[in-house]
C-alpha cells in the first residue's frame, strides 16, 4: 500500500482548518489515534458535493429570474431541502409547499405562512415577500 496516500494531507482543507481524529495503522501494525486535517480523496468528494449544490443554486436563481419559480425555491435549494423536507419543517402537506414554489401562488401568501418559511430559513418575512435572495443558513454567520 502506498503510505503517502494513507496519510492525511497537511494543508488546511475544506473543513475550515478543523483538526479531526483518525485511526491509522502505525509501522508496528497497531492502529492509533492521530490528529490531522482531512484526507485528500475526502476533500475531493466533499468539494464535489458542494459544487453540485452550487450548480443547483445557480439553476434555481436562473429559474427565479425567468419567473418560473418563486424565491422560496431558491431558499429551499440553497438550504439543501426537498419539498417534502421543507413541508415537514413547516408542518404543511408537501403538495402545498410545491404550490408555494410557483410565483403566482407565492405572491398571494398570508403573513402567517410567510412567517413559517422565514423562521425555517432564518430571514425576515419582508425579505421573502420582496423576493430577496439571502445567503443560506450555513453561510449567514
Amino acid at each position: 500500500m502506498a503510505m503517502d496516500s494513507s496519510h492525511p494531507s497537511r494543508e488546511p482543507d475544506i473543513n475550515d482548518g478543523l483538526r479531526i481524529i483518525n485511526y491509522r495503522a502505525d509501522s508496528d501494525g497497531r492502529c492509533r489515534r492521530h490528529q490531522g486535517y482531512g484526507w485528500q480523496p475526502v476533500n475531493i468528494v466533499n468539494h464535489q458535493a458542494w459544487q453540485e449544490i452550487e450548480k443547483q443554486i445557480g439553476a434555481a436563481k436562473r429559474r427565479i429570474a425567468a419567473g418560473t419559480a418563486s424565491c422560496l425555491y431558491y431558499y429551499m435549494i440553497a438550504n439543501q431541502m426537498s419539498p417534502a423536507l421543507l413541508a415537514r419543517y413547516t408542518d404543511q402537506p408537501s403538495w402545498l409547499v410545491r404550490l408555494h414554489l410557483r410565483p403566482f401562488v407565492f405572491k398571494r401568501l398570508g403573513r402567517a405562512t410567510l412567517q413559517k418559511y422565514a423562521d425555517v430559513f432564518q430571514v425576515a418575512p419582508a425579505d421573502l415577500a420582496a423576493g430577496e435572495l439571502k445567503a443560506p443558513i450555513y453561510q449567514s454567520r
Binding site: C31, V42, V45, L85
Partner: protein, 340 residues
C-alpha cells in the same frame, strides 16, 4: 466557566461521534474507557447498502450500525444504565435538558448537523444522527462537548433546539440520554466476546443481500452499472457519496475498519488473545483496501484517472475488501465460539 453546577467536562476528541459520546460519558462516571473499546463493545461495525433510503437524493451506504446502536448496547450491560427520552414538544425537550443540567448531569443528545452553527460550513449537510454532550449552560449558550472537535464549543439555545428537532431521515425527535455506571459492577471485559460474535453474525450471516459482506458484493455489482444506468454525472455523484460516507468526519478512516482494528488490538492485550491481534492486523489490511478504493474513486470523480482506474477496477477493489473482511470475520467467529 464557574457559575454553573456542572461547568466542567473531561472532553476527549474522538473520531466517531456516538462512540466518542459514550466513551466520554462513561469516563465521567470514573471508568477509563477508550473510544475504540466503546465502539467495539457497542457493536458499532457494520456494512449496509440501502438504495431505498435517500440522503440528499443519494442512496444510503453505511459502514456502522444504526444511529443509537452503541448507546443501546451499553444500556444492556450490567452496571450501566442508560436513561433515554424522546419528545414531541420542543419547549418540554429543552426544559428537560435544563433540568438535567441543573441536577449536575452531562447529557447526550442526538442532533442534526445542518443546524449546528459551530460546524464548518462544508460539513453542514442534512445529517441527523450526530451525537454530542451538553454539560452546562451559560446565559443563552449551551456548553457542548462535541466529540469530533478538538475543544469544547458553545451553541446558542435556539440553534440547539432546531438541531434537536431536525426533520427528515433519522430525525432525532429531541432524543436525549444520560448514562449512569456502577463502577463496582461494570466492566467491558466480559462482553468483548459476545460483541465480536454479534458483529460477525451481522457481517456474515444476514439473510438480506444488502447487509454485511453480501451487501459489499451487491454494491460492487450495482456500481459497475451506474455509468450506463445513471449517466456519468449522476454516477460520479453516487460514487462520491459512498466515499463521503466512508471517510467523512466521524468514521475514523477506512469506514470504521481501523477503529474496530484498534478495538481488537486492545481486546487482545486485555484478554491475552494473540489471535485477536492477528485478526486486527488482517482488518487493517481490509481497511487499507477501503482506502485504495476511496483514492481510486476520488480520481475517477475528478477525472484524474491513472492507468488501471475504471469502474470495473473499482468494483473489483470492493470485492477484494469483501473477500478480506469475510476471512477476518470468519476467523473472529471461530474465536468467539471456540474454546480457549
Amino acid at each position: 466557566m464557574n457559575d454553573h453546577p456542572c461547568p466542567s467536562f473531561h472532553h476527549r476528541q474522538s473520531a466517531h461521534c456516538e462512540s466518542g459520546v459514550v466513551a466520554n460519558l462513561i469516563y465521567r462516571e470514573g471508568i477509563d474507557l477508550s473510544e475504540a473499546m466503546a465502539f467495539g463493545v457497542g457493536r458499532g461495525l457494520f456494512f449496509g447498502y440501502f438504495p431505498f433510503i435517500r440522503i440528499n437524493g443519494l442512496p444510503l451506504v453505511t459502514y456502522r450500525g444504526v444511529a443509537g446502536q452503541i448507546i443501546k448496547q451499553f444500556g444492556r450491560l450490567p452496571g450501566c444504565s442508560v436513561h433515554q427520552q424522546r419528545f414531541g414538544d420542543r419547549d418540554r425537550a429543552m426544559a428537560e435538558l435544563d433540568g438535567a443540567l441543573a441536577a449536575g448531569r452531562a447529557v447526550g443528545l442526538q442532533t442534526g448537523v445542518f443546524w449546528l452553527p459551530y460546524f464548518p460550513r462544508a460539513l453542514r449537510f442534512h445529517f441527523n444522527a450526530h451525537n454530542l454532550v451538553v454539560y452546562g449552560k451559560q446565559g443563552d449558550d449551551y456548553l457542548v462537548s462535541d466529540p469530533v472537535f478538538p475543544e469544547p464549543v458553545r451553541c446558542p439555545a435556539a440553534d440547539l433546539a432546531r438541531a434537536r428537532f431536525a426533520s427528515g431521515a433519522l430525525a432525532p425527535r429531541g432524543k436525549m440520554y444520560t448514562i449512569t455506571v456502577d463502577p463496582a459492577v461494570f466492566s467491558c471485559r466480559p462482553h468483548i466476546e459476545a460483541a465480536i460474535g454479534g458483529v460477525c453474525r451481522l457481517m456474515l450471516a444476514s439473510p438480506l443481500p444488502l447487509i454485511g459482506i453480501k451487501g459489499m458484493r451487491f454494491l460492487a455489482g450495482r456500481l459497475v452499472r451506474w455509468p450506463h444506468r445513471l449517466g456519468r454525472e449522476r454516477a460520479v455523484l453516487h460514487l462520491g457519496h459512498i466515499v463521503r460516507m466512508q471517510e467523512e468526519i466521524g468514521t475514523g478512516g477506512a469506514g470504521f475498519r481501523f477503529m474496530f482494528a484498534a478495538f481488537l488490538q486492545e481486546s487482545a492485550d486485555l484478554l491475552g488473545a494473540e489471535r485477536l491481534s492477528d485478526c486486527s492486523k488482517a482488518l487493517i489490511q481490509a481497511g487499507d483496501g477501503w482506502r485504495r478504493f476511496a483514492a481510486m474513486a476520488a480520481r475517477i470523480c475528478k477525472e484524474r484517472r491513472q492507468p488501471g482506474d475504471s469502474w470495473e477496477a473499482l468494483a473489483d477493489q470492493l470485492r477484494g475488501c469483501a473477500a478480506r473482511e469475510e476471512t477476518v470475520f470468519q476467523d473472529l467467529r471461530r474465536w468467539s465460539k471456540g474454546p480457549r
